[in-house]
Amino acid sequence: MTSSTFRGAIALALLAVCLAGCAQTREMKATGAANFDWSGPQKRIVLIQPDVVLAELTAGGLNEPRADWTNTARDLISKGIAGSLDQRNISVTELDTLTNAHDVQLVKLHGAVGNEIRQHGFGGATLPTKGSALDWTLGPGTQDMRQRYNADYAMFVYVRDSYATAGRRAVQFLGAIAGIGIQGGVQVAFVSVVDLRTGNVVWFNTLFSQYGDLRDAKGATSFLNDILKGNPL
């Protein structure tokens, strides 16, 4: 192998790693049926503790959950959303811990429903009987939250985010030399605004990205700007 073909192989490999790691964000959102109906003069929202897991993507492709990163990201996201709603004169009750078993179930349900909306609510995998209208719901089980937290709407946030270790990046590099594309870290997130009277999801936004960093304030702000874009509140 000449030095120039070697350089070529390295350049190609770097390009492949870059292509795997620097894809565009795909922002998808639906804004249907956002007819907000507030029961009082003050807009009141409960912000449910965001369901966040940040993980380190190991060389072998395992996601190793990181408690410290997760805690940091969860706090940054909560504070960021609360601050942004506050600026719009919305009264926000922050639910920082989940102690009520029913709330825990609703958070899990939101994770399941949100992932379905992500897959079937937009674009290619639209369900024939469902179409692209935003008519998904968590069901009337949300009603008791309305009294408990004295709010008309709830905001649910779901984030799964992984960061490639140096070892993983090395495997991506090696794979690129061998002509194999290997996945790096990815960020999957969605946010729902739910009408607590009906459980209906009245606004939903989702984000898929292969860059971004939720472990610091700057990265979290940029993430929130993307995920809250178009938010009709």
């Binding site: 190793e64 408690a67 179930q105 140096a166 090395a170 090696l174 030399i177 002509g179 290997i182």
Partner: protein
């Protein structure tokens, strides 16, 4: 690209990779096997904290599970056995009794203990229950999940590299063999952990004053039950992850004999366990029979009867096993057992069972008599209409 050149590229890459791997921060000072202190909680920047976090999320599912047995007395009893073994660390553990008719218990790395009702039905005494709990507590205090996790991270990393190297060099078969070799090493390591948990658990059992020989007795009973229907081993999760059962049984027996003699006589406490579980036994046996593995249920009910031979309830379930298994001679065996059960004060359903058996054996008069007894004793029975239908049509096909 010649093979030599390819190898030099791959070697350069491998060097880069190992340098990168070394540069990764060494997380988590505690090593698997390090004893865990009471009140322990991992530092938040460790891999162990990540494992705990995910297990905390999973634990939420137990708390609201429809399978969760919430009976306060039963929970207090099983917890008291757990605490005799775990002592100071008991405060770090949560107990979830789940209504699942299989022999199993499991402890998550964050201290969440699951105990299935199939285990509570099968343990013949408190010492045997302690054997399983002690084994699970040992997995927790010795941080075996952390060890497994770190091995998975390292082994899958090695597999990813080997997979690439062999794919690039066109030696797929060698790559496959290497993958299997690595998988083999994962398996054999967890067997070592099982042995370690056996030994450590048995020590906890003996230290709490229980008879450590009961661990081997329980193991032997479960192996006998499994062997009755080897094609249905799936229910025995606790044994399935524990290969080489015979060797481990022998180790448990010899360890029990070698443990220093306790100051007081070792406890077995058959009475305590029976008292705590007695009110649930009928429901658990009903679920056990619904597994439809009658060969295994037969071994189980016979073993329970050996310990409690006068129980009409157990005789009734023995009759139910025969009737539902329905092999040659089972109808006659079931009829005999229903009769003994009725004599011993069995539940009223024994008359219905006797009626069904008589009907099947072509004895309409006997069936009518038994069914009538059933309806007289339980006039509000859910299946009254069905039984009346049987009575009305007795003899139609005989």
């Amino acid at each position: 690209m010649s093979l030599r050149n390819l190898l030099s590229v791959l070697c350069a890459g491998a060097l880069f990779l190992s340098a990168a791997a070394l540069a990764e921060p060494a997380t988590a000072p505690p090593k698997p096997g390090d004893p865990m202190q009471p009140g322990y909680h991992p530092a938040s920047d460790t891999d162990e904290a990540g494992l705990w976090m995910m297990n905390d999320k999973a634990e939420d599912t137990f708390k609201t599970s429809p399978l969760l047995v919430r009976d306060a007395a039963l929970n207090a009893y099983v917890r008291s056995v757990m605490c005799k073994l775990a002592k100071d660390q008991c405060a770090d553990m949560r107990l979830y009794i789940l209504d699942i008719p299989y022999f199993n218990a499991a402890m998550a790395p964050n201290g969440a203990m699951q105990v299935w009702t199939g285990l509570l039905l099968r343990a013949q005494n408190e010492a045997q229950l302690a054997c399983v709990l002690g084994h699970e507590i040992s997995h927790y205090t010795l941080r075996h999940t952390l060890a497994e996790w770190r091995r998975a991270v390292n082994t899958s990393g090695a597999m990813a590299v080997l997979g690439i190297v062999t794919a690039g060099a066109g030696v797929g078969l060698i790559g496959l063999a290497a993958d299997y070799a690595l998988l083999g090493s994962m398996m054999s390591f967890s067997r070592d952990e099982e042995r370690e948990a056996d030994a450590h658990g048995q020590d906890l059992v003996a230290a709490a004053g229980y008879d450590p020989a009961q661990c081997a007795a329980l193991w032997q009973e479960q192996m006998a039950e499994e062997d009755a229907e080897p094609e249905h081993k799936d229910g025995f999760l606790f044994l399935r992850t524990h290969p080489a059962n015979k060797e481990r049984l022998a180790t448990m027996q010899s360890r029990a004999a070698a443990l220093p003699a306790p100051a007081a006589a070792p406890q077995v406490d058959a009475e305590a366990l029976l008292q705590a579980t007695h009110g649930f036994r009928a429901a658990w046996l009903g679920e056990e029979l619904n597994r439809s593995h009658y060969g295994q249920s037969l071994i189980l009910v016979q073993a329970l009867l050996a310990a409690d031979p006068k129980s009409g309830e157990l005789q009734f379930y023995l009759a139910e096993v025969y009737r539902r298994r329905n092999e040659a001679g089972d109808a006659a065996r079931a009829a005999d057992e229903y009769k003994s059960a009725i004599a011993a004060g069995a539940p009223v359903s024994a008359f219905r069972g006797l009626g069904l058996t008589a009907m099947k054996s072509g004895d309409p008069a006997g069936a009518r008599d038994a069914f009538q007894h059933y309806l007289d004793a339980a006039p509000a029975a859910d299946d009254r209409a069905m039984v009346e239908y049987y009575i009305a049509h007795l003899g139609d096909h005989t």
